[in-house]
């Protein structure tokens, strides 16, 4: 009975993890890069780096004047102060029922940044919605996330000797065993991280995936629920024109109200220029808080009187803030960000080695049978999803430095990202039968990532490591250091695989065929 349970759990682990495997790798790798999304965005705007060094002259009132010049008729305005990780101010606005329109400002806060890039936002959007504009992407990621959660739990169930397995790593053994051992090592030690990151990632979108509670407890009235949950303040426009109160004094009052040296991050103006204008000052998340708690003070936009203050969230809402805060990793600064990066990489390795184990285990059986075409297709697609994405990501960063100044950077960088992904995928499919498929792809990825700091050195004056390290600009330097780390690790894996010949692998495969289930329990 127990044996049957282990076997059905092994089946669930294999297929639940494998079928969304490509999707999971994209989500995990893009999520790992998203640990540095703001840093990547900053890195990809080299025109702002010299300006940033001169220091900015940011003020909310100054940003507001820019909005009034560009979009004089608008019903809602959003202004963001510079952040440590994202030092450029943002201005945004929308009219009722229209898309939110936003722009980054130059580092001195005086002009709108021209020829902007999508920066690290591409990886962030790939991570949580596969860069698909509608909800389909969010649901696909949610489905893959649930498969991941099931694969993690069933993985624990089938590994009764989980700790013994952990100390078993035989990279010099057969290739298939090395894949399995790599899978065990990269899964077991960071298992708490994998569980937490998968669960909290799902929790962030719980109202999209399971709106059940809103349907039963609030009769499906979304507006009523959000009003009760957020506790905000809203009033309609009065219809008479009235001058808007200066913003910076209101920001200072809000900061005084919060105390503890807490700073404002966003200012939102509803009905600007109207007698019923409202100015909302939103607090920045303090670095030492995991829970991403929003706090805001609402002012009358004409008199400057305090209208409303957000109430502290209830216990359930607070736990949700805590769990999503664990996922967003906006606390603890650089240390936490690097820790998440390494944990994320272990997750990428877990997924990639799990897929690698599955395919190498079936090599002998399928190569000899007439299912060989399907086998090679899957093998090629594995490389397309794994090394293909790694290659495309490096090309994306490199293109930022190598494209001429005149072209539309956002469009060309994105185009080259997908073009190089397709090119790497075609190579993977063409070479799917070759034993050197993985080494060719891995070397390409290693060289591309390793060249990023060098190309950066050759093409910029203020943004390369020789300039950013002495100046202590860790946000910018972090991207180059991450590129070096990726280049070296990819090169190390390629170097390890270089001697594995076809016949070694086939003899390993034959051994597997004789004892197919032995390693499972």
């Amino acid at each position: 009975m127990k044996e049957r349970l282990i076997q059905s759990m092994a089946w669930l682990h294999t297929w639940g993890g494998l079928l969304p495997g490509w999707l999971l790798f994209v989500i995990f790798f893009a999520g790992t890069l998203s640990c540095f999304d703001k840093e990547i965005s900053q890195w990809m705007r080299p025109s702002t780096h010299a300006v940033a060094q001169n220091g900015g002259g940011f003020s909310f009132d100054r940003s507001l004047r820019l909005v009034e010049e560009i979009a004089p008729e608008t019903s809602s305005i959003w202004l963001r102060a510079p952040m440590e990780r994202d030092p450029l101010p943002i201005i945004g606005w929308n009219n009722a029922g229209q898309e939110f329109d936003y722009h980054y400002l130059q580092a001195d806060g005086g002009t709108v940044l021209q020829n902007n890039t999508r920066g690290g936002d591409l990886f962030f959007r790939l991570h949580y919605r596969l860069d698909i504009p509608n909800d389909l992407g969010v649901f696909l990621v949610g489905f893959a996330g649930m498969c991941m959660l099931v694969a993690l739990v069933t993985g624990v169930i089938i590994h009764r000797r989980i700790f013994k397995d952990f100390f078993t790593f035989r990279p010099k053994g057969s290739k298939q065993r090395a894949w399995l051992d790599a899978h065990n090592v990269s899964s077991v030690l960071p298992l708490p991280f994998h569980l937490v990151i998968t669960y909290t990632g799902l929790v962030i979108f719980f109202l999209t995936y399971f709106p059940a509670g809103m349907h039963s407890a609030f009769g499906g009235d979304e507006e009523k629920f959000y009003k009760a949950a957020e506790g905000g303040f809203h009033r309609e426009a009065g219809g008479r024109p009235a001058p808007l109160h200066a913003l910076d004094p209101l920001v200072a009052r809000a900061e005084q109200e919060w105390g503890d040296g807490q700073k404002a991050l966003w200012v939102n103006i509803e009905h600007p220029g109207d007698s019923n204008a409202v100015v909302v000052v939103w607090r920045a998340q303090p670095k030492d808080e995991i829970a991403w708690i929003s706090d805001a003070v609402y002012f009358d936009g004409v008199s400057g009187a305090v209208l409303h203050r957000l109430e502290p969230a209830g216990i359930g809402h607070h736990i949700e803030h805590f769990l999503s805060g664990l996922h967003f990793a906006q606390f603890g600064g650089q240390t936490i960000r690097w820790l998440y990066l390494f944990m994320g990489l272990s997750g990428c390795l877990m997924i990639a080695s799990g897929m690698g184990f599955w395919i190498e285990k079936r090599r002998q059986r399928h190569v000899l049978s007439n299912a060989a075409a399907g086998f090679f297709l899957v093998r090629g697609l594995n490389a397309a999803a794994i090394t293909g994405l790694i290659i495309a990501s490096a090309v994306y960063l490199l293109s930022n430095r190598l494209l001429p100044a005149g072209v539309d950077h956002a469009a060309w960088e994105l185009g080259l990202f997908y073009f190089s992904w397709i090119a790497a995928s075609l190579h993977a499919l063409a070479r799917a039968k070759s034993q050197r498929l993985w080494t060719e792809q891995l070397w390409t990825a290693a060289i591309l990532w390793g060249s990023i700091p060098l190309i950066n050195l050759l093409t910029t004056d203020n943004s390369h490591l020789l300039a950013t390290l002495p100046a202590g600009q860790w946000s910018l330097a972090g991207v180059d250091l991450m590129a070096i780390l990726f280049g070296l690790s990819l090169g190390a894996v390629a170097w390890k695989l270089r001697h594995k010949k076809m016949h070694e692998l086939e003899s390993a495969g034959a051994g597997v065929l004789l004892a197919p289930r032995e390693r499972q329990s």
């Binding site: 759990m9 739990v153 169930i157």
Partner: protein, 109 residues
């Protein structure tokens, strides 16, 4: 017992020889029970908890929504761990009817 033996054999190595009854209908049944049945029941458990947990309605929605993924995981695993797939459908359908009734019939919380 016959069913168990079948699962065991086909789940282990690639057995070429088939027993009298094909395996795929019950694998398909379990996959559907896990994904579709599991989702429906998780939805109903969440809806039920959001009404009957002792906190404020907002906190109830948050707590029940956060628990949903643990519930769904457990239901997916049960769909494959249960000895008979017909039993999975029976348990899930009965629970859906009872919980949905309790959560939605009184007119919501």
């Amino acid at each position: 017992m016959l069913e168990q033996t079948q699962i065991k054999e086909s789940l282990s190595a690639a057995t070429v020889a088939r027993k009298s009854k094909p395996l795929w209908p019950q694998v398909l049944s379990r996959v559907l029970a896990a994904i579709v049945g599991g989702y429906a029941l998780t939805y109903c458990v969440t809806a039920f908890l959001a009404v009957y947990l002792p906190m404020s309605p907002v906190d109830n929605v948050f707590v029940s929504g956060m628990l949903a993924f643990a519930v769904y995981t457990a239901l997916v695993i049960y769909a494959f761990a249960a000895s008979r797939h017909e039993r999975v459908w029976l348990h899930y359908s009965l629970s859906v009817v009872v919980l949905a009734g309790l959560a939605f019939l009184p007119g919501g919380g």
